[in-house]
Symmetry: C2
Subunit: 110 residues, 2 copies
């Protein structure tokens, strides 16, 4: 992703898929999302108790998920309530679903 990205002309969906996939590309972020998605309501704090990593590291991962749009945080200092960002979550489901649905190679023997 160094020099040439613009001159390839990716579609919006390609960019969106790639950046959401990047957000999912670390197991601890998968874990965090599962924890948030499994909550019946929004979620405050206990992540640092559930995941054996430095608080600053967890915070960084949350930031990455925020920037990817997959979660949202309601700031309420000193606490923050984190949730799945439902709209983008649904969009992600759709994009990944469509992506994996398009597989037309049925006939060849390879």
């Amino acid at each position: 992703m160094q020099r040439t990205l613009s001159d390839i002309g990716y579609t919006t969906d390609e960019i969106a898929l790639a950046s959401m996939a990047k957000a999912l590309s670390h197991p601890v972020r998968i874990r965090i999302l599962q924890l948030l998605a499994g909550e019946t309501c929004c979620f405050t704090g206990e992540l640092t108790g559930l995941i054996p990593m430095a608080q600053s590291t967890i915070s960084q991962h949350l930031k990455a998920l925020l920037e990817a749009g997959l979660i949202q945080g309601e700031i309420n200092p000193p606490k923050v309530k984190y949730c799945i960002h439902r709209e983008n979550w649904n969009k992600a489901r759709t994009l990944f679903g469509e992506f994996f649905a398009g597989e037309t190679c049925g006939g060849c023997l390879c």
Copy 2:
């Protein structure tokens, strides 16, 4: 992913999801997969003609997709026939599908 990965105890699915997501985390790899998935049969070579990147770079991306199990290559030197790896492709669809399906937060206002 430096020091602590083992002592968190990720599940197999968490690891699998994260590594497939990592393979999808670059737009050119999304593009390549779309090209392969759109072919009615396996695909030889023309990737270098379709994607304005150095041949070595494309080869590296193909290697990444191979190692993630998302494609397969039938070596037939000097050519190689690349395909979607259907079994793992379906597994990926299932894993991502289940992942995005599990979102129970319906009630709270956040």
